[in-house]
């Protein structure tokens, strides 16, 4: 052929910015990593027993032995906060994974095949969305009795419509892109188009969204445990600790604000990291 394109590809742009980790990414990641490690290895940490009550040492202010002070039953607030954070993390991750798997699959199917499948899946999602989420969670938890598995299932169920909606919207717009038509034109089967052409384009936005949803799930769990509808005692939960000690707010603010701080920092870290990830994906999409 006579035409040789004299063009040479440009080097990948903006590679400079990506390599440098900013504070707004590294700090949240650091906190989340530390939180994960602390909750996994809490048994080996040099801390007082989180379950040991001591009526002589109630509502002690923070000291070297009890960094966050003690609660109204004389238990170490820091040790209990770490255990409570474990519940938060497990529920956050577990429910989002559940919602992600179910909602993502439903959204993919309904966006790709459209028609009747889409209609029924959308109807089911509308039904879940017809209740205020927290009220639905409260109702399910109250009828079925609190347990870790049920909290994860309930919150996960509430995430299904959100994940289904975002996956469906992305799938719909991708399915109209010409590269999917090209794949059909070469005789590619639907399953392969879904897995090879569409799915890889969905992963990044869904992960960013998932991180933000973990934050939402942790807040949801905290709200449920504040009402006493999450994991039952004696297992400490951050929301439960706040609820139990709020009567002593004036005398022992640490017993309330200690677990609150854990909750806040964890959720904030997830939000910041998720936002950053989303921004990066948006930038990359815009560059396409």
């Amino acid at each position: 052929m006579t035409t040789q394109a004299a063009e040479t590809p440009v080097a990948a742009p903006a590679a400079v910015r990506r390599s440098r980790l900013s504070l707004s990414v590294s700090l949240p990641v650091l906190w989340l990593g530390a939180a994960a490690l602390a909750t996994i290895f809490s048994a080996y940490l040099p801390m007082p027993d989180p379950f040991r009550q001591s009526l002589l040492r109630t509502l002690q202010s923070p000291s070297p032995t009890n960094l966050f002070g003690t609660d109204s039953l004389g238990r170490d607030v820091l040790a209990r906060s770490i255990l409570g954070l474990r519940v938060s993390l497990v529920v956050g991750l577990g429910s989002v994974l559940f919602g992600f798997a179910l909602g993502g699959a439903l959204g993919l199917v309904s966006g790709f095949f459209r028609g009747r499948v889409d209609f029924w899946i959308s109807a089911a999602m509308t039904l879940i969305l017809s209740f205020p989420p927290l009220v639905l969670a409260i109702a399910i938890m109250s009828y079925a009795g609190p347990s870790l598995g049920l909290v994860i299932f309930t919150l996960g169920l509430l995430f299904v419509p959100a994940f289904a909606r975002i996956t469906r919207a992305n799938t719909l717009s991708l399915a109209d892109r010409e590269f999917v038509l090209a794949a059909r034109a070469m005789g590619m089967r639907n399953g392969r188009i879904l897995l090879q052409e569409i799915l890889p384009n969905l992963v990044a936005p869904l992960i960013a969204y998932g991180m933000l949803m973990v934050a939402v799930a942790i807040i949801g769990e905290a709200a449920l445990s504040f009402l006493g509808l999450s994991v039952p005692p004696p297992q400490p939960t951050l929301g439960g600790m706040v609820a139990a000690e709020r009567a002593n707010l004036l005398d022992a603010p640490w017993a309330v604000f200690g677990p609150s701080l854990f909750l806040f920092l964890t959720v904030l870290s997830l939000n910041v990291a998720g936002d950053q990830l989303q921004r990066r994906i948006d930038q990359r999409e815009a560059a396409l």
Binding site: P9, V10, R177, A185, P200, L288
Partner: protein, 331 residues
């Protein structure tokens, strides 16, 4: 449509690669309305021929291209590829015949999967077709990239966003040609490119056609581009074909008032200094939801009569290899 007319739409000699019979495509809109984007068109393309399909936006030309590729299939009518009527094929048979007709799309960026490398994209049709091992595939991909004027070594592991629009369009052409198709459907392949790059791609398509013995359907809105690349040109207006003629003849002896108006509207940098736009036609394309009765062009046609409102003109001969659908053709 009478058989005599059909045969006159076809070129005289050579085997027919593609035959389209009375193709329609209707879309159901939200709210129960139906939009007939293509309202019964027929044409044939002979082996080695390039047929240009030209028309303004909303005339249904893109729908024609996709319908004959069964993306998705037409609402009615028949598409016959080398003697095989596509509507009679099962899904599996259709997949098997697809490699014989391939398509190049308008948007160079959107037609390539952003997550895959150029080598993967070009190799994908081979993977789907099966039968070659990794080494043989790589070898074919290298050949094809070379053939479309890309340096395999440089672009191999790149992703689409790292290439320019022109380069992406070359990749699309390579992907379309790697299975040695008989028919290549090009849907506005150069309309989103700058003039200088557009020339590169048009030249590439001409070269590819010669080298691989392709038959082409070239869909575009730019009359000068279509004339440059086509042997014959079909003009579409509001879902119907109004004129088909050899490229040179259409541009010198257009018979349909719409073709005449279209040609008169194209500004030419060589001759049109201080032109007064004397032959501009008024109005815009009516909504395909509610097309005019009779001849669809009559609402904008300077020659329209009462007959045009009641009787739909059929394609009839207007010279050698030339048909026109008009009650009052120019000649």
């Amino acid at each position: 449509m009478p058989d005599q007319t059909l045969s006159s739409v076809a070129p005289q000699s050579d085997a027919t690669v593609l035959e389209v019979q009375d193709l329609t495509k209707t879309f159901a809109l939200a709210g129960g309305q139906r939009l007939q984007a293509v309202a019964g068109i027929s044409f044939q393309i002979a082996a080695g021929e390039t047929l240009g399909l030209v028309g303004e936006s909303g005339c249904g030309k893109t729908t024609v291209g996709r319908a004959l590729m069964a993306l998705p299939p037409p609402s009615s009518g028949e598409v016959i590829l080398e003697g095989t009527p596509l509507s009679r094929l099962s899904a599996a048979e259709l997949r098997a015949i697809r490699p014989r007709m391939q398509m190049v799309f308008q948007d160079p960026i959107s037609s390539l999967n952003p997550k895959r490398t150029i080598a993967d994209i070009v190799a994908a049709p081979l993977v789907v077709a099966g039968g070659l091992n990794r080494r043989q595939r790589d070898e074919r991909v290298r050949e094809m990239l070379d053939a479309v004027g890309l340096d395999p070594g440089t672009v191999w592991d790149r992703r689409p966003h790292e290439l320019s629009g022109g380069q992406c369009q070359r990749v699309s052409v390579a992907r379309a040609l790697i299975l040695n198709p008989r028919l290549l459907v090009c849907d506005e392949p150069v309309s989103s490119l700058d003039v200088s790059v557009q020339a590169q791609i048009l030249n590439l398509l001409e070269d590819a056609k010669a080298r691989f013995g392709l038959t082409m359907l070239f869909i575009a809105h730019d009359l000068a581009v279509v004339k440059n690349i086509s042997d014959r040109v079909a003009v579409m207006y509001l879902g119907k074909i109004c004129e088909v003629a050899p490229a040179a003849r259409l541009y010198s002896q257009a018979a349909h008032p719409y073709t005449v108006a279209l040609l008169a509207s194209v500004p030419d940098p060589g001759t049109d200094f201080g032109r007064r736009f004397a032959r501009v036609i008024e109005g815009e394309i009516p909504s395909p939801l509610d097309p005019p009765s009779g001849c669809r062009f009559r609402t904008r046609c300077p020659k329209a009569t009462a007959q045009c409102a009641v009787e739909e003109p059929r394609l009839r001969p207007a010279g050698e290899n030339h048909v026109v659908a008009c009650h009052h053709p120019e000649h």
